[in-house]
């Protein structure tokens, strides 16, 4: 029964060397290997978690971007609307002002014209008067230049008066 008989030498060497190799491997192999594997697993886990976080953040960022964009768009629309209103207002105001001014100028011009016309009429009247006087003077002079003429005139005049 050589097969199942434990041998003292083999047991002794196995205990000694197995203890030694257990110690050596524990200290110089298993500790660093398991440590590194764990560390790597943790770092992978962390990386995954932070990727997930980044994804969420990205999503949040995207939605806030969209919100900001919508806000900007509505603001732009409001601004445009305001601008359009202001423009219209300005144009109408300007139009009004121009009309008023035009009317004012027209009225002034009309007044001036009236004044000038009155002036011209007055002038013309004066000139006509003086001309008439001059003409009458001249006629009188020529009519009254001789006695005979004076007599005729008087006769004519008297003739008219008699009939009245």
């Amino acid at each position: 029964m050589e097969l199942v008989k434990p041998s003292i030498g083999l047991i002794f060497w196995m205990i000694v060397s197995f203890s030694i190799i257990l110690f050596l491997l524990k200290k110089f192999a298993w500790k660093p290997i398991l440590g590194m594997i764990k560390e790597r697993e943790e770092s992978i886990e962390n990386a995954l978690a932070s990727a997930e976080k980044a994804k969420l953040e990205m999503k949040a960022l995207q939605s806030s971007n969209e919100r900001i964009l919508a806000e900007a768009r509505s603001e732009r629309d409001a601004l445009l609307k305001d601008a359009r209103e202001i423009r219209e207002k300005m144009i109408s105001e300007a139009k009004n002002a121009a009309n008023k001014e035009g009317e004012r100028m027209l009225a002034a011009a009309r007044e001036n014209i009236q004044i000038e016309k009155n002036k011209a009429i007055a002038d013309l009247k004066n000139q006509v008067a003086s001309l008439s006087i001059e003409i009458a003077e001249k006629i009188l002079r020529s009519e009254l230049s001789s006695d005979e003429k004076q007599k005729t005139l008087v006769n004519t005049l008297l003739k008219d008066v008699n009939l009245n």
Partner: protein
């Protein structure tokens, strides 16, 4: 994933090639066996007319030896260290001659080999000195011890290299040897230690579990290689299996908490009359579980070696009857041996797995605190897996 499968395929392929080559190297022709066994001096078992003795040849290959037989008449002599009542003595096993037929005149006694073990003989007539032999302790560096040293050196080389690789490319994907070893380490950690011991407590057992797993696995695979430095039935040696089981027993006993011992000496909720029967069984179970570990490992690995050798013995047995028959059977033997070799590749891994798993389960039950459902699951596992 694909890469892993490829590595495994290569591994299987090279292993099967090694097995096939075993045909040409590992087995001596029957005449040498006959000469050896004759010169070893075993008159009762053997006589020349009987020819090839398969049982003897197989046993010689399976048990320990003081020399490492390579091929034909070439073997490596190994140092013999004996302690007698007169002190230690160290000499080379080559003094016993090839096959151990000669006596060696040492400092204190005259030694000889009798059926593989060293005995003290009388200088003059060569008869065994029973009294001196009884006090003789053999601490020789035998074939198994040598093979154990080789396995351990290989382990040191592999894992120190791997550890260096881990510190060198920390945080990066594994490369080379590292990527071959890492899945196994992860397997031991995630599939053996964590589920059996628990997420919180498994870490302190990892060094032992990993060392045992790789020691058993590497020496099992080395044992499947038919030529030097493999081919030794190391884990199939009862002493080696015993020491491994002893470590498991000692660790279980030392880490066992109150809860564990309470369940052994006074199972809670069990009436006293039943306890009288149950407690001795539980106490016996503490010893029995590592004992079963030992027997399982020893029997499985030894059986593998015996079967492979038996198939080749068939060639010589039939060859002695008729040369043609021998050639015919050799083809059949070869096919069966290759088949068995593949099975042994599986068994080599499986035994490492089972030994580590059961050790982990024992540790788990020893440090278990809770009253959860898994508490008694481990009681059934050894029986379930006993057939592997």
């Amino acid at each position: 994933m694909v890469n892993k499968i490829n590595i495994f395929k290569h591994f299987l392929l090279s292993a099967s090639l090694l097995l096939i080559s075993s045909v040409s190297f590992s087995y001596e022709p029957p005449d040498t066996v006959a000469v050896r066994s004759h010169s070893a001096g075993a008159p009762a078992h053997h006589d020349e007319s009987h020819g090839f003795d398969a049982g003897k040849m197989i046993l010689e290959h399976v048990v320990d030896s003081h020399e490492w037989h390579l091929w034909g008449h070439t073997s490596i002599p190994l140092p013999v260290i004996v302690k007698t009542d007169k002190g230690f003595e160290v000499f080379s096993s080559s003094h016993f001659g090839h096959g151990g037929s000669e006596e060696y005149q040492g400092k204190n006694y005259t030694y000889a080999l009798k059926e593989g073990s060293i005995v003290v003989v009388d200088e003059l007539d060569g008869s065994v000195d029973e009294a001196a032999t009884a006090s003789l302790y053999d601490f020789s560096i035998t074939k198994n011890v040598m093979s154990m040293f080789i396995t351990m050196a290989l382990m040191l080389w592999i894992f120190l290299t791997v550890a260096k690789a881990y510190t060198k490319n920390a945080g990066k994907a594994p490369k080379g040897l590292q990527s071959f070893v890492e899945p196994l380490i992860m397997f031991v950690r995630d599939d053996l230690a964590k589920p059996s011991i628990g997420e919180k407590r498994y870490e302190r057992f990892m060094p032992f579990l990993l060392t045992v797993f790789f020691f058993v696995m590497i020496s099992n695979y080395l044992g499947l290689i038919p030529f030097f430095p493999g081919g030794v039935n190391l884990t199939g040696s009862i002493s080696i299996a015993m020491v491994l089981a002893l470590f498991t027993l000692l660790i279980t006993v030392f880490v066992g908490n109150k809860h564990y011992w309470q369940h052994i000496f006074a199972m809670p909720g069990v009436p006293i009359p039943v306890l009288i029967i149950l407690t001795p069984i539980e106490i016996l179970g503490v010893i029995l579980r590592p004992f079963v570990l030992m027997v399982r490992l020893f029997a499985n690995i030894t059986a593998g070696h015996i079967i492979a050798l038996a198939f080749f013995s068939l060639i010589f047995i039939f060859g002695e009857m008729n040369a043609g028959l021998g050639y015919g059977v050799s083809i059949l033997s070869l096919v069966f041996t290759v088949f068995m070799g593949f099975l042994e590749l599986l068994v080599a891994f499986l035994q490492a797995y089972v030994f580590t798993l059961l050790s982990a389960i024992y540790f788990g039950s020893a440090v278990d605190e809770g009253h959860h459902i898994h508490n008694h699951e481990d009681d059934y596992l050894p029986e379930n897996s006993a057939h592997v």
